[in-house]
Amino acid sequence: MKLQSPLTHCHVCLAPIAYPAEGATVQCRCGVRARALVYPAIFRMSDGSIGEAIQGDGEAACFAHEGKRAVAACDSCGRFVCALCRIAWGSRILCPTCVNAAEKRTDLLTRSRTHYDTMALTVALGSIVLFTISVLTAPIAIYLAIRALRSPRSLVPRTMWRAWTALAIGTLELGGWSWLLVYVVMRTGR
């Protein structure tokens, strides 16, 4: 049960630990050694602001909240935003609409990716083991491999050998089935 913050408590005996700011290693009373690297951001806490109401006619209003005073402009679309809508993203200020729209267009907001190439390879290898069902699984493997090649790739470096291998296996299996079909038809025709 780890209820305490590791910055203040030992994770083994849950006793308080006083870390030196320079990052030196300390030893808890239970014998566990630990080290903390502390940075200036520790002083920065959320101010809990939700935006102030407009006091006079000369003040700009938030695009999304008419009654709230604008405190910044979106660096992407230029709309005025209140303290509630202002999203600090690195060194830029964005509005929620731009962040939402950008989620699908940029790697910087992607939260998950599907490995279609691994799926394709698994199906392709499975169809080698169970060859009799490969007439069904080979097209699936080819579809998944093509989808892997067309979909956005992993954020981190990842080669596409799985997709190409699955494509090759699927194509070979389909070719084999086609040849078998032609062979059977020709034999039957004679």
Binding site: M1, L3, Q4, S5, P6, L7, T8, H9, C10, H11, V12, C13, P16, A18, Y19, P20, A21, E22, G23, C30, G31, V32, R33, A34, R35, A36, L37, V38, Y39, P40, A41, I42, F43, R44, M45, S46, D47, G48, S49, I50, G90, R92, A102, R105, T106, D107, L108, R111, S112, R113, T114, H115, T118, M119, T122, P152, S154, L155, V156, P157
Partner: protein
């Protein structure tokens, strides 16, 4: 923010792999990326350098690791000895398996835990689970975070650690009444269970009987049930409770681990000698060789040594469990805040 922009990531040392899950850390231009891969998908979590308040690394207790080391060495030495004595391929195979398993274990064992703290909360970094790789990764992350954040004197940071920053400003004029305090949680893992005490008392009896048997040089007291109890019941009675408690709440867990390893090694060694002795009696005709094995098998120092270790383990176990701090000794945790319990 460009369409389809690709971010260049650099892989950090460390990683944690399981059967279906793999955790890795990557260094981006302005953030740290934690990638959790399952078989068919991967999830990302970003920690921007400007948001990182602290990085914490805490070692894990060495108790369990030490026990595995000793058991591996004991089994390996016993298998090697048996191989030289019996010249049977089975012992060589056992030795090779033990060595391979131990190397695999050493390369993969986790000896630390790491966390990153931001203003939002604290998140564990599973890839940093080995000290050496964690230190190398932290050095790289530290460099980037220090570049991204303005420099502040160490004295200022020390003050931040001594006095937690104020909580966010209360927006509502009339804050809702505080909820009633939660009941005090009782950590049952620190309360010694009677079954453990009974187990160690039984172990103490076994040790005393074996000591009498060794000193009297008579097999009258070295009855079968005593041997069976010490060889087979001992792991159930002692090791399982230790594993259940993770050795972390038990005093002197390192000593206990060493004693357990010695008893395990000793019992395996004694069995190896007994087996080799019987083989020698069966196969070898030389009276002098038989005499050497019989001396080894019936040697009092070995039996006395094993009995002493058994007694030490039993006494340690009783003392450790009987002197374990109860719930009353624990400090009040209080309400949880970002910086731990209030008032700590």
């Amino acid at each position: 923010m460009t369409a389809n922009s690709r971010v260049g990531y650099r892989r950090l040392p460390g990683g944690k792999s399981g059967l279906l899950r793999r955790d890795t850390l990557w260094l981006g231009p302005d953030h740290l990326l934690h990638v959790r891969s399952s078989r068919f998908s991967e999830d990302y979590r970003r920690f921007y350098f400007t948001d990182i308040q602290a990085l914490v690394v805490q070692h894990r207790p060495v108790g369990n690791r030490l026990a595995v080391d000793w058991v591996a060495i004991g089994v390996g030495v016993a298998a090697l000895t048996a191989l030289f004595l019996a010249h049977h391929a089975a012992w060589g195979t056992l030795f090779a398996v033990v060595v391979a398993a131990y190397i695999w274990y050493v390369l993969r064992r986790e000896d630390c835990e790491a966390w990153v703290q931001t203003a939002v909360g604290t998140a564990e970094l599973p890839p940093l689970c080995r000290i050496r790789s964690a230190n190398r990764a932290l050095a790289l992350i530290d460099e980037q975070v220090r570049e991204a954040q303005p420099a502040i004197p160490v004295a200022e940071l020390s003050r931040a650690l001594d006095t937690p920053p104020p909580l966010p400003v209360t927006v509502e004029a009339n804050p809702p009444p505080a909820p009633p305090p939660l009941p005090q949680a009782v950590d049952s893992s620190r309360v010694p269970s009677p079954i453990y005490v009974v187990a160690f008392v039984l172990l103490l009896i076994v040790g005393v009987l074996k000591m009498f048997a060794a000193l009297s040089a008579s097999s009258a007291l070295n009855v079968v049930w005593v041997s069976a109890a010490s060889y087979f019941a001992f792991p159930v009675l002692v090791i399982l409770p230790l594993i259940r408690d993770g050795t972390r709440n038990i005093r002197g867990s390192r000593l206990g681990a060493v004693l357990i390893s010695m008893v395990t090694t000793g019992t395996i060694g004694m069995n190896a000698i007994n087996w080799a002795s019987s083989e020698a009696n069966r196969k070898m005709q030389t009276a002098e060789v038989r005499k050497v094995y019989e001396t080894l098998e019936n040697g009092a120092p070995l039996r006395i040594g094993l009995a002493v270790i058994l007694l030490a383990l039993a006494i340690w176990g009783l003392l450790a469990f009987l002197t374990a701090p109860g719930p009353a000794d624990r400090r009040s945790d209080g309400p949880l805040t970002l910086f731990g319990p209030e008032g700590s």
